[in-house]
Subunit: 394 residues, 2 copies
């Protein structure tokens, strides 16, 4: 392989093949863009006043809460809180539920959006933690969870799917463990919301954190958390709520307890259209299509000994991520070569998942992540296979 990026003439039949959908889905359904445009032309600031613009804004926000509650089988629209992204949702949950001396169990599969808040509450609130490991294929050692429950363990915090390997955790089983041991179950669904079925009730999930701009096909600047009724999270931000303005504290009622200031109604309007698109298309169909593209990609590279895959690909119960390396080439160099020579957009490096890299032994090399969307095509996949073949055979 000859790495020769920057300045070589592009050898590509596509202008750009975007395979970084686990970071953000670039192709949004047209209805999403139209909804944002319409919102930006007509919507005011929702806030319990009855002027037309404010009501239009309030209605779409409420309707989106309703749709999200249905999508995730949550406890109704009032338990759906909007944030700017899943990181904020995870900070709200992780910082608002624990007290000094508590212990929590999480996993090495987590993103820094989970790990760093856990480290922060260790320092600030003296909340200790245990991280459950994985096997060589990056599969969570679920049996280790119960072994690590202590008398002061309050919660399990688990990602639905690794953003690095695409491995999906069995939330039914983990939810049962949480229920049996009376632990709160907090789930990071950043990689699955919209792309993989989630049922808060059947999975015994207490707090589900999600983002709008990935599998949900919504605009950036949208995300949130769904909170089971009866789970009280301390307010993370304080500010205007449009209700009980003479109260010095954030009001007790949900969702304003966890929301302060002007919501991103323009983005939420787009998210609303996106959820309708997902509902009409069917999550199962979206998942099947994405896995079909992933399997095609994997099959196309099977014969190449230089290509290593990280993760468990012997199941369709995963997300459409292919985490690979080519021999011992630096992942950044490979990703740059794919981008600049072939116009193929992937993501290299650490992926904000430091413990997963330690488990895979890829701290130095990083990993090249290909992540597929419902809107990618077989042609694009074949072209990516061809590009990797060329790199390997040069």
């Amino acid at each position: 392989m000859h790495i020769s990026f920057w300045g070589r003439k592009m050898d590509t039949k596509f202008e750009n093949v975007y395979l970084d959908n686990a970071a953000t889905t670039m192709h949004k359904p047209d209805c999403v863009i139209e909804a944002v445009v319409n919102a930006m032309r007509t919507m005011g600031n929702a806030g319990r006043t009855s002027n037309k613009g404010a009501m239009d804004s309030g209605r779409i926000i409420f309707d989106t809460r309703l749709k999200l509650a249905q999508l995730f089988n949550a406890d109704g629209p009032a338990q759906v809180v909007f944030t700017k992204n899943s990181t904020e949702a995870l900070n709200i949950a992780i910082k608002g539920l624990f007290n000094k001396g508590d212990h929590l169990i999480s996993t090495v599969m987590e993103h820094n959006s989970v790990l760093r808040p856990i480290y922060a509450i260790e320092k600030e609130q003296e909340v200790s933690h245990t991280f459950i490991g994985t096997d060589k294929k990056g599969r969570l050692l679920i049996d280790d969870i119960e072994k690590n429950i202590k008398s002061n363990t309050k919660a399990l915090i688990v990602t639905h799917a690794s953003n690095l390997s695409g491995n999906v955790n069995d939330l039914y089983t983990i939810g049962e463990i949480a229920k049996k041991n009376e632990l709160l179950f907090i789930v990071d669904a950043s990689q699955t919301a919209g792309a993989y079925p989630i049922d808060m009730k059947k999975m015994n999930i207490d707090v589900l954190c999600w983002t709008g701009h990935k599998g949900l096909f919504g605009p950036q600047g949208t995300g949130g958390l769904c909170v089971r009724k009866g789970v009280d999270i301390r307010p993370f931000t304080q500010g205007g709520t449009g209700v009980q303005s003479y109260l010095e504290e954030q009001p007790a009622e949900m969702p304003v307890r966890l929301e302060a200031g002007t919501l991103n109604a323009h983005g939420i309007a787009g998210l609303n259209a996106a959820i309708t698109f997902i509902h009409d298309t069917g999550i199962d169909n979206i998942h099947k299509r994405e896995i079909c593209l992933l399997n095609r990609f994997r099959d196309g590279l099977k014969s190449l000994d230089m290509v290593s895959f990280y993760g468990d690909y012997d199941t369709d119960e995963r997300t459409a991520i292919a985490a690979i390396n080519i021999a011992d080439y630096d992942s950044g160099e490979v990703s740059d070569e794919l981008e600049h020579r072939f116009g193929i957009s992937t993501r290299p490096g650490a992926h904000c998942a430091p413990l997963m890299h330690k488990a895979f032994g890829t701290v130095e090399q990083g990993i090249v992540r290909f992540s597929f969307s419902y809107f990618n095509t077989e042609d694009e996949v074949d072209y990516a296979i061809e590009a990797i073949r060329k790199l390997c055979l040069e």
Copy 2:
């Protein structure tokens, strides 16, 4: 006056006259909407990787930091932090700068986005406060600031303009007081950013908090804070930063120290276009135009004894808000009548400014707020005058 809202036939020559621009500007320049659409079709997730979508996203974010730094005369692009709204920016500043035993000085003119975080740190961090009052016209008693400085006073937190009365505070004078007494100067520019000149250096501002969806004509879901170099604010959220992923803490470098997770690049792209629009139009021209509409409105109502104005209107150094009541009618009923009979959108009630209402004696009645934008017309103003006349004379 006969209040007869809900169900009466509309008596209006406009479909809707939107005069709630202090809540959110509804009319966005076309270039803003076009920029958001373009971003939603082409942008990835900025994050120090070099794929095309990510680079496009990273470039527009950086360029917007640059433009904001120029607009506010801040300490360069790295000191511009993006948040979802000004409430989040204010929470970051107020919760990240004080230590146990500190004292701060703020004002009764503040919004709950300032007051509630101040109450929160009183409870959680034992930080005490003094609120400076106003005269009958709602003008800040600036001379009272120095009288209330204690040995443990660390900062002044002052709104640039009241969201209720539109009164503007003289930040040059207050900034001098802060400088002389070696206090941090934190400013809430939610009501002025984009609509009124701000110069962080000349005004001695250490932290400027602003929102994108009001005077800046940007999309909802955008806002931020500009931080003077050398002022260290503790991270408020922890998460992925795309840099230093193996660090357990949020990195020390700005702006990622105060940003975690995916930024709203779609919204920021719109904000970028909006700032260009403001730059090309000229803030002074925007301010003049808005004040012209406000003065026209006020002149048109001068002869009506039933109409009371709250605030200081004997100066053009204010924002384009008219805060009124009609006799002792409930502000909510008046606002509803204006909306449902005349199609005029205003905002009644408490406006999340409880201490300002206490100062004006309008806790029960609330206030009807008319707020004008650069895009409102003289015709709309005249129509609003006519509508209020009708209500008064019935």
